[in-house]
Symmetry: C2
């Protein structure tokens, strides 16, 4: 199965209000909440596609009560963070709590739990930020215990530290790539991450689609035309596409087509972790294979 | 003991952010949360004053985990509502969730629980709104089963229905009194509530202090000068003062002095359910007794 890892799971709460007025008292008209976090979104997409998937990570029990994707999280004594999204007149305002402090014992217990789950994994995808208390090289520790292909989707220091364990794919977006390498050109940035330890880099470049760079070749594939919608979750759908490709042993051109189709279909879906199934089927049928870049 | 009732308890969550910008993503710098609801605030004030108190009502367990006031709530299957207050640059923006739906069985179980607790009560104070599913005459049902003095602090239809059970004191503020009677004059409004069933009315009139109206006489007492601070919770402190006065058998002039001192000291405290102990001691020593009104 494909194992997804979410170290900083969240309870995503969405409030609908009539209009948002700073300083005022608002009656909340609608409340919805569900488990959130990038690895959980990756698992949702893979589950919807029918791939065998298991979501793991660190979470307090309240977060997981309604999660319908197969999961086996390690519990923590702190409460998982909440994200509150206030939607008013079509505009979303977000409030992101910091994560709870994870103790050294909780981290070690998770590493053990992860190692035992990973023995049955064909692919491991590790996504998102790390809560306080997880060591800076947390992703490197996890990647180095795994025998199957690994994908790391994170940013900043967590990404930099992960490279030392030679993950098979890292998936930064354009901003994250620029921030971690200091380079404007995605191709140059990707080359730097390869030099520093990644075996392949898949950069998500928004409307320019995906750039995949391995030691031997580069590929690029963009969605057809501009997409209007919600880009939150498109990166997670991309990771799901990469994981599915690695799981089925697809070659890079086919793997990238799957990843672009899923990312684009996720933009067309209002909620992160979902994708527009009609758009996905059409894109998958009509997208050309990725072409070699440079 | 003094029994306080909170039918619509809440988890009060406070976020501190740098500035509130609609449409933006905000990093929450500080998170605090605690049990909220008007009856719980009344119990906090009474507990701090050293009076024997027990807080009851309807709440899901998550709300009560950190509540240090003695309490015995009936649990509900729904999650209690949250209130989220976003504090930025000294300004508070509130988001109030609606309450959870209470089932008929949960309500009947609470009435039984309440009746058994009320047997040991010297005073019962019932405060705040009612969640969906509680019958409109919920407060009247509770008041009619009680032998000791009762105080009802609510508004609108809940207040109107409560009058039929002849509560000993109802405590509207000026807006609530105007809304429920349609009368501009607090004295005239209070007389209407007496006529409709209340045995006494204590109206909180902001800077004009308290107006107490019984069948035989009226009293009024204002705090000395203007108070700058947070008026949220001043009404709950007033109910605590009335409850303490009924508990100790104080006469109206002394009871009102206690209620005004506590309300004013609550305005000077940043958080509802607390009061400025120095200000309280000074006000209590220096306030004149209430004078007869009209």
């Amino acid at each position: 199965m494909i194992l997804t890892v979410t170290l900083n799971a969240a309870l995503d709460v969405t409030y609908t209000v009539e209009s948002l007025v700073p300083g005022a008292t608002h009656r909340v008209l609608g409340v919805s909440q569900r488990a959130g976090g990038k690895g959980i979104n990756v698992a949702r997409v893979l589950h919807a596609l029918g791939h065998p998937v298991l979501a793991t990570g660190l979470a307090s029990s309240a977060v997981l009560s309604d999660l319908t994707v197969p999961h086996s999280f390690a519990s923590i004594s702190g409460e998982s963070r909440r994200t509150v999204t206030v939607v008013a007149e079509g505009e979303a305002t977000l409030f992101n709590e910091p994560g709870p402090e994870v103790s050294a014992a909780e981290w070690l217990a998770f590493v053990d739990h992860f190692r035992s789950l990973a023995q049955d994994a064909t692919v491991v995808a590790l996504s998102g930020s790390m809560p306080p208390g997880v060591p800076p090289d947390g992703y490197a520790q996890l990647v180095s215990t795994v025998d199957c292909p690994t994908i790391v989707d994170t940013s900043g220091a967590a990404l930099r530290h992960a490279l030392a364990a030679h993950p098979d794919v890292v998936k930064p977006n354009a901003d994250e790539l620029r921030e971690v390498t200091g380079l404007e050109s995605p191709q140059a940035g990707a080359s730097t991450l390869l030099r520093d330890g990644a075996r392949a880099v898949v950069a998500t470049l928004g409307p320019d689609g995906l750039l995949a760079v391995t030691e031997r070749e580069s590929w690029q594939l963009a969605p057809p035309g501009k997409l209007a919608g919600n880009p939150t979750g498109a990166g997670d759908a991309c990771v799901a596409g990469i994981a599915a490709g690695l799981h089925t042993g697809a070659a890079w051109p086919a793997l990238l087509r799957e990843a672009v189709a899923l990312s684009a279909a996720a933009v067309l879906h209002p909620v992160a972790g979902g994708f527009d199934t009609n758009a996905y089927a059409q894109l998958r049928a009509n997208l050309p294979p990725a072409r070699k870049a440079l």
